[in-house]
């Protein structure tokens, strides 16, 4: 993989240098500082802070709710993206622009609005309560907030990919005798799977770090509906910077490993798909 070969535009050295400086200043140095600050603790202290009962419960809530929200977004986001690309209907542009709203809305506003809607006296909550379903101030409320803020990621990553799949491909599959399910399963799904994973990963990682919207709807009860970012704020409220960094480092570590795994899966899926499409040529 020589970068100089076959490149129309010059300036690889400059671009790489820029990339490294940019990433260092914005990402690596702050995160490095975070890790460095946590080294003020001995490993035993670090372990004690990172594994208190409240902390462990908070990791479960944070990562569990984020994963669930990302799964919901992957499923419904796929439907939304499909409908927006493949069908024409009045008001399509308007609906398309709705998708971006969770990006633009300040998260605290989202949290307060959702809490009001889903509380037992709210517009939606009052119909859910007789069904025995409490959303606001429960872990379920956290999932609702995280689904809300993560929705655009899946839709926006899938849209261009679905646009690239020519309807002729589906027609060809049909003429060759594939059933509808087979067409989806063998033709469409492999093509969009890598993008779906990207959308999932983005939605998930956005959810893991989310604070503003969640605290208003979560109820914040220790061991039940406390997210890790809340515990970090809690430590900062006590001016315990080092303790806060310890939790942040744990979050960072878990997130990094999970994202790495999702990326690995994505590379694998993309290669498999590409190999199959070009199968036998090489």
């Amino acid at each position: 993989m020589s970068a100089k070969k076959n490149n129309v535009l010059p300036g690889f050295g400059l671009a790489l240098g820029y990339t490294l400086v940019y990433l260092s200043v914005l990402v690596l140095i702050p995160l490095g500082g975070l890790v460095l600050k946590s080294t003020a603790l001995t490993f035993a202290q670090f372990w004690d802070i990172a594994t208190t009962e409240r902390a462990l419960a908070a990791y479960r809530v944070t990562f569990g709710a984020s994963a669930l929200a990302a799964v919901i977004n992957a499923f419904f986001g796929l439907i939304v993206a499909w409908v927006l690309v493949r069908y024409d209907f009045p008001g399509k542009r308007l609906i398309d622009s709705f998708v971006d709203l969770p990006f633009a809305l300040p998260t605290a506003v989202a949290g307060i609005t959702l809490a009001t809607l889903y509380s037992t006296n709210g517009w939606i909550g009052k119909y859910l309560e007789p069904l025995g379903l409490k959303v606001a101030y429960t872990p379920l409320g956290i999932v609702v907030a995280l689904t809300f803020i993560g929705l655009p990621f899946v839709v926006r990553t899938l849209q261009p990919v679905i646009e690239d799949i020519e309807p002729e491909v589906e027609e060809a599959a049909a003429t060759l005798g594939a059933s509808r399910w087979q067409t989806f399963r063998r033709i469409i799904f492999p093509a969009i799977f890598p993008a779906l994973l990207t959308g999932f990963a983005l939605s998930f990682s956005r959810a893991v770090g989310e604070y503003g919207s969640v605290i208003f709807i979560a109820g914040n009860m220790p061991l039940i509906s406390e997210i890790t970012p809340l515990l970090i704020i809690s430590k900062l409220e006590q001016y315990d910077y080092v303790g806060a960094t310890a939790l942040a480092v744990v979050m960072l570590g878990i997130s990094f490993v999970l994202l790495l795994a999702i990326n690995g899966l994505q590379w694998w899926a993309a290669n498999r798909h590409n190999n199959r499409n070009t199968g036998g040529e090489q």
Binding site: A115, T120, A136, Y137, I215, M221, S234, L236, E237, D240
Partner: protein, 337 residues
């Protein structure tokens, strides 16, 4: 080299000149007051009063800028370099932190009268109109079937005052000790369906979403609720005893020495204890320290027995260590089963 004027410094001089032309139109001195969130209304009224007072007294035009936010967030910002001349907070813990960092005098509480707190407040109950559950005192909040709305006891000043108020009440009961207090506070917290993100969020939850039977909050907040939601919706209940909330102020030595604004900063805080400053506190439903002003506004401040954090808990840092740090009493209530 010495006499050469580089284009850069010429540009710089031009900028200074331009700045100089604009500046007199603004103010001779600008002060920055870093304050807690709900002090907005108080200082919105107070700052013009002080500007006028200082103009008359010293013939100097002072402009006061405000920065509001969560109390400890503000303090962290000041510690990290926000150039606030003065801090006006709602808890000693926050100013103590600046004192530890050397930005504020260690004995800041003695630099002004009344523990450097120009006004006080206390924790009261807001109940639904007619008080349907007949909630009169802290012990009623611990009864089963009562829903209590409080902000997060560990993460918010409002919540910490509530927690300590209930704890202090339990200690003052016959035979009260730390063990009975822990049990008592545990019962109250068990009645909380959620911990609100902050004081205002708790108010919204109680008033707008209509959750809970009682909201515990600052006396001053009750008046804002009346303004926002009308008086017909709720009643204020004064418990038999409550906590004295103090709002310490301090000059940030490190900043005023650098900016040369000590005189103005000191005067700005001193003026809080003037008749005008005290009246302004009363008008914002904060209990003035001045006995005469308090008497004048007696109708809006019913008598209530209060205890201070210093009296019952030996100061905020001790209270924080016993209750709010990791493994403190709050954590014990949830983690020990």
């Amino acid at each position: 080299m010495k006499n050469a004027v580089s284009p850069v410094s010429r540009l710089f001089a031009a900028l200074l000149l331009a700045g100089g032309l604009v500046a007199p139109a603004l103010a001779d001195v600008t002060l920055l007051n870093a304050s807690y969130d709900v002090a907005r209304d108080f200082y919105k009224d107070y700052n013009p009063m002080f500007t006028k007072h200082w103009q008359a007294k010293a013939g100097e035009k002072v402009e006061v800028k405000q920065s509001h936010g969560g109390s400890s967030k503000q303090v962290r910002a000041v510690a990290d370099g926000l150039e606030a001349d003065v801090v006006t907070m709602n808890q000693a813990t926050d100013v103590d932190y600046l004192a530890d960092k050397g930005l504020v005098a260690k004995d800041y509480a003695k630099k002004f009268p009344n523990n450097a707190s120009p006004y006080t407040s206390t924790m009261v109950f807001i109940v639904r109109k007619g008080n349907p559950k007949a909630l009169k005192d802290w012990s009623d909040l611990a009864k089963s079937g009562v829903e209590v709305i409080v902000p997060h006891p560990k993460n918010t000043g409002n919540g910490r005052y509530t927690y300590l108020a209930a704890w202090g009440y339990a200690l003052k009961q016959p035979g009260g000790n730390d063990k009975s207090a822990l049990e008592f506070v545990g019962k109250i917290l068990k009645n909380a369906p959620l911990f609100a993100a902050g004081g205002r969020d708790a108010t919204t939850t109680f008033m707008q979403r209509r959750l809970g039977d009682v909201l515990v909050t600052f006396e001053s907040e009750a008046e804002l609720i009346a303004k926002e939601f009308g008086r017909g919706e709720f009643e204020v209940v004064y418990p038999s005893v409550s906590i004295l909330a103090e709002f310490p102020v301090a000059v940030v030595d490190k900043v005023v020495d650098k900016k040369g604004s000590r005189k103005q900063a000191q005067a700005y805080l001193d003026y809080l204890w003037s008749k005008e400053g005290q009246e302004n506190a009363a008008q914002n439903y904060l209990r003035p320290r001045d006995a005469e002003v308090l008497k004048k506004y007696a109708a809006q401040f019913p008598n209530i027995k209060t205890f201070s954090v210093d009296e019952v808990f030996g100061g905020w840092s001790k209270a924080a260590k016993a209750h709010f740090v990791d493994g403190g009493s709050f954590d014990q209530l949830y983690v020990q089963k």
